[in-house]
C-alpha cells in the first residue's frame, strides 16, 4: 500500500507544473464554450465526457459555426488520432493490468498526463506499481480541468457580448498552430489545408473542413516522404 500511495503522489508531483499551465486553459475553454452557444451543463460535461483540450476548443468553435454534428464528430476523431500513439507507447508498461484498470487509465490518458508518465516509465522501466503514477498524473489533471472549466463558465457568463470573445477561439488555434510550423512539410500542410478550406467553404454540411484537413495531412506526409532526411524533427503534437 505504501508503495502505491508513494507512486501515486510522485505522479501528482510530476504533473504539478503542467497543472499550472492547464488551469487558465480550462477557464478559457469554459468561457468560450459558453460564448459559442453551449449551455452551461453541456460546456461542463464536455470536460468530463470528451476530456481532451484541443478537441473541446474545436467542438466549441464548430458548434458556434453551426457545423453538422457528424462533421464535428469526424473532426474530433481526426484530431484525437494521436492518442493511439500514446496508447501504443504506454501499452508495454500496463500490459499486466486487469481490463478495468486499463480502461480507467485510458480515460485519463491526455497529452498532459502522457508526457510526464512516459518520461518516468522510460527511466524506471516496468515496475509493479507503475500504473499508480499514471493514475496520479491523470487524475490530478482531470480534477484541475473540471474545476477550471467550472470557473471559466462562471466568469464567462459575466463577460458582455460586445467583447467579441468568439474571436479568442481562432486566436487559441493560431497560438497552437504557429509553434508546430517548424519545417517545410508542416508549413505546406497548413497552407494547403487553409486554402482548400477557403475554396471549399460553400460545400454542404461543412465538408470543406474535412476535405481541407485531409488534403493538408496528405500534402505534409507526401512532402516528408520525398525528403531524404528523416531525422529532421517532426512537428510537436498539440495539447
Amino acid at each position: 500500500m505504501d508503495n502505491q500511495i508513494k507512486t501515486f503522489w510522485a505522479g501528482v508531483q510530476a504533473e504539478i507544473p503542467l497543472l499550472i499551465g492547464v488551469f487558465p486553459f480550462g477557464m478559457i475553454y469554459g468561457a468560450l464554450a459558453l460564448d459559442a452557444g453551449l449551455s452551461k451543463g453541456a460546456a461542463q460535461m464536455m470536460s468530463s465526457i470528451v476530456f481532451a483540450g484541443s478537441a473541446q476548443f474545436i467542438t466549441a468553435q464548430l458548434v458556434h459555426d453551426s457545423t453538422p454534428g457528424l462533421v464535428i464528430v469526424l473532426t474530433v476523431a481526426v484530431v484525437n488520432l494521436r492518442h493511439m500513439l500514446y496508447s501504443a507507447s504506454l501499452a508495454p508498461y500496463l500490459a499486466s493490468l486487469p481490463t478495468r484498470w486499463k480502461a480507467l487509465l485510458s480515460y485519463l490518458l491526455t497529452d498532459e498526463a502522457y508526457a510526464p508518465t512516459i518520461i518516468h516509465y522510460e527511466k524506471e522501466g516496468i515496475t509493479p506499481y507503475a500504473h499508480w503514477f499514471l493514475l496520479g498524473a491523470g487524475f490530478s489533471l482531470w480534477l484541475v480541468w473540471q474545476i477550471s472549466t467550472a470557473l471559466g463558465i462562471f466568469l464567462g457568463a459575466a463577460i458582455p457580448d460586445s467583447w467579441s470573445l468568439d474571436f479568442a477561439l481562432p486566436l487559441t488555434f493560431i497560438a497552437m498552430v504557429v509553434p508546430v510550423l517548424k519545417n517545410r512539410p508542416a508549413i505546406a500542410a497548413a497552407l494547403s489545408a487553409g486554402l482548400v478550406a477557403l475554396a471549399a467553404d460553400s460545400l454542404p454540411y461543412s465538408l470543406g473542413l474535412i476535405l481541407a484537413a485531409l488534403v493538408g495531412i496528405l500534402v505534409g506526409t507526401i512532402l516528408e516522404g520525398r525528403k531524404s532526411s528523416p531525422e529532421s524533427p517532426a512537428p510537436k503534437e498539440i495539447s
Partner: protein, 108 residues
C-alpha cells in the same frame, strides 16, 4: 444531431483511441505511414479552421483593410511566432481586434 449526442460520440471515439493499443498490446502495430501522417494533423486541421475565420466575412473572401479579424489574426500570428506563448498570443490578438474595431468605427 444534438450537442449531447455529439459529445457522447466524440467522447467514445476519444476513449476508444486511448484504450485501443493499451488493450490490444502486442496484437496490432501502428503502420509507419500513419505514424508519419499524424504529425500533420495539427497544422492541417487547425489551419482549416483558422483560414475561413480570418479571410471570409459572411462566406465571402474579404482581403480589404476593414477586415479587422484578418488584421488582428495576422498580428496574433506574429506575436505567436516570436513569443511562443499561448496566453500572450490570445491577449495580443484580442487587444488588436479591439483597437482595430475602435479605429474603424471612428474612420468609417
Amino acid at each position: 444531431m444534438t450537442i449531447w449526442l455529439v459529445m457522447l460520440l466524440g467522447g467514445l471515439i476519444t476513449f476508444g483511441m486511448r484504450f485501443s493499443l493499451i488493450y490490444l498490446f502486442g496484437r496490432f502495430q501502428i503502420p509507419e505511414t500513419m505514424r508519419r501522417a499524424l504529425h500533420y494533423v495539427p497544422p492541417a486541421v487547425l489551419s482549416a479552421i483558422i483560414f475561413p475565420q480570418l479571410f471570409l466575412s459572411d462566406g465571402v473572401l474579404n482581403l480589404s483593410l476593414d477586415n479587422t479579424r484578418l488584421l488582428a489574426g495576422l498580428a496574433a500570428i506574429a506575436v505567436a511566432w516570436f513569443s511562443k506563448n499561448t496566453l500572450i498570443t490570445i491577449i495580443a490578438g484580442m487587444i488588436a481586434l479591439f483597437l482595430l474595431q475602435f479605429v474603424f468605427r471612428i474612420g468609417g
